[in-house]
Symmetry: none
Subunit: 200 residues, 4 copies
DNA sequence: GACTAAACGAGACGGTACGTCGAGTCTTTGT
DNA sequence: ACAAAGACTCGACGTACCGTCTCGTTTAGTC
């Protein structure tokens, strides 16, 4: 019986330890495994329930919907920081970064995550979160250009965003839309073609 | 060489005229309308049947599956030739081409078609057809570069594919994945940034 | 392609032959069996599906809900005409009728059907149908009194409804609410007690 | 004979005072309110928990099950003694008693309680308790007949049980099964019809 | 112009997955 | 140490689509 006159919203404090944590981890893990195994299509909550040993209704309690579950699982993946290369040359750093992206996109899980992101409606809460992830990633890439500026490889103060988007866009286009492979050689050529000649 | 024993499968002679043609047109039209109205998600064969006045079963008779239907409908759209600009300058031509693509992608139907294409499994008969469409489009764009070579704006014999993919990729990335708008100004800047300075 | 300007409601004509009939019969049969076996509680559409070999969704297509299914199944049961006795004496006829009712109520299926009827909300479409069934039954019973009038056992023109309801109500009360058994002896005594002494 | 090894199950002594009592009252009250508001269907422990401010788990600690809770709540209602009328005439007393029953049955709470009782399985601990309640009620009604005997309205020593059950059964039948209203006029007519003419 | 088979209309069914609700149990956590 | 509260298991319900099956009915295309 509540007696406290506290009329403000009770704000249920989430549980973090013990079973809840175990359940949550099991489900997210199973979600990743299922995405790997069967892709975005072919993904089903029931399969996750079976694989994780957590009851389906429990999953629906914690995650509002199938998509909410996938969102959280894939974001855990994307959130992990990608190492920023520093090989002494802008070109090499870019090739390195891009090849990381290529690996991701080409992996079953990256592919599934992208299909998921593309299936989202034009505007929704989830697209907001997607945008934030991209912003975070781009921020990392900027560092490479900052260092390049110190080396005189990139004009100080010039915003590299267009170049970055062109490079990343090119590989996204090839892999996702043209459905053609991207090789190391191709990456080198691409960077060479897009980077202004002035950038040594 | 003997004649093949002439399997007595009598090779059913297809009907093309009259009703069949009307039905087919009605269904494809309704498919487009539905895609426009409800997007790729939210698309259902039942709705097409209702809108077109053609019975669901008849649709499944003619098109093997929901995806087959969408494929045919959207390809009719993509197949229509895009006019190749000739404004006397490579930059202007490219901006013109790209803005056409932006319009397409931003339209409900283009968006739906792209979501559909992205939902396809990694490899399938349909992806083949998608690839062909892209090849056709790229061929068109090459013409612009050919003309630019005549004007001395592009090195004769240099393959512009990487540049094209970078430009197209950049806008695909922005619209589809970053979910940010692409303005005319942005397009100009982009072309400026990616095109080699030498290409005056 | 519908072209006829017929705007009147299409009124889909139900199918009766072949598969539909088989499916329907199988489901209704299985429903009865399940009610017999597990009672009204413990009844589940899934079990009916399994037992009948008809897919669950097909059941939901034909019957709007679990309750709709039970309604139809039990009504098929109740609809079958009960033989009207004619033993030459009102008392004997009544005892005969009542003992039939007792048998019904005491059987698993009758019990389940009654629990179902009692679980219905106070007013609904279904209660209407229940009322109709009762009306039909009472009409049958009236015949017994009509014949009794011919024999001089019951005042001509006197409405026996109150007496009927008292007798039927008494056994319903005992079985359903008091949960006590009703024997043949008890039935005889009951009729004797309730029927006016004047009725020979 | 040795002492039983004195199972060291420490016989948990129930707490009765203070908080426990308050909790119990709150829950039972909320249970009644919920039954009134939403009927037996539509009743949920969660709603009781919300209304009473007692946590669901606490309710399950005190009452073994949803049904146990309803049983206790409704019995508190039924246990309250109904006043035994004494208007100087058996007929009037009976009409008075029956109209009380009609009121009960027609009220939301009485209706809910009856639905609950009907939903019980054929035999269970709870049906025992139901039987006892009925016995208690019938005992009260007997008093009316005893007084009638003193007045010469009812044969001394004759067991009125069948008559009582017929009358009560008739109104139960009408209200619960036929779902038709019972008016005062109807009650009078009913008593007149069922009571032996000899009973003045 | 009549015939024959292709295509269509129409209703129902099998099958997969989603999300919801409520009952009752288990376990973490705060007092 | 104990009870309050959160989270979980379990079983069931009902819904939305996809694609298939089986009839009967039109209608296109040939003879």
């Amino acid at each position: 019986m509540k007696k406290q006159p506290e009329e403000d919203v009770p704000e249920p404090r989430r549980r973090t330890g013990g079973r809840s944590a175990r359940v949550q981890a099991a489900v997210l893990g199973a979600t990743m495994d299922e995405l790997k195994a069967h892709g975005y299509d072919g993904f089903s909550v029931a399969a996750v329930a079976a694989r994780s040993g957590v009851h389906e209704t429990s999953i629906y309690r914690r995650w509002k919907s199938r998509d909410g579950l996938i969102l959280e699982a894939t974001f855990a993946l994307f959130a992990q920081d990608i190492p920023i290369p520093d090989r002494g040359s802008l070109r090499e750093d870019l090739v390195n970064l891009l090849s990381g992206a290529v690996r991701q996109l080409s992996s079953p899980i990256g592919w599934a995550a992208t299909q998921f992101a593309m299936a989202l409606p034009r505007e929704s809460e989830m697209t907001q979160e997607v945008r934030q992830q991209w912003a975070k990633r781009f921020a990392s890439v900027r560092e490479v250009f900052d260092r390049a500026s110190l080396r005189g490889e990139w004009p100080v103060g010039k915003n590299p965003q267009d170049i970055i988007e062109s490079l990343v866009g090119a590989i996204y286009l090839r892999i996702l839309h043209l459905r053609e492979p991207v090789t190391a050689a191709h990456l080198k050529r691409l960077v060479e073609a897009v980077l202004p000649a002035t950038c040594k």
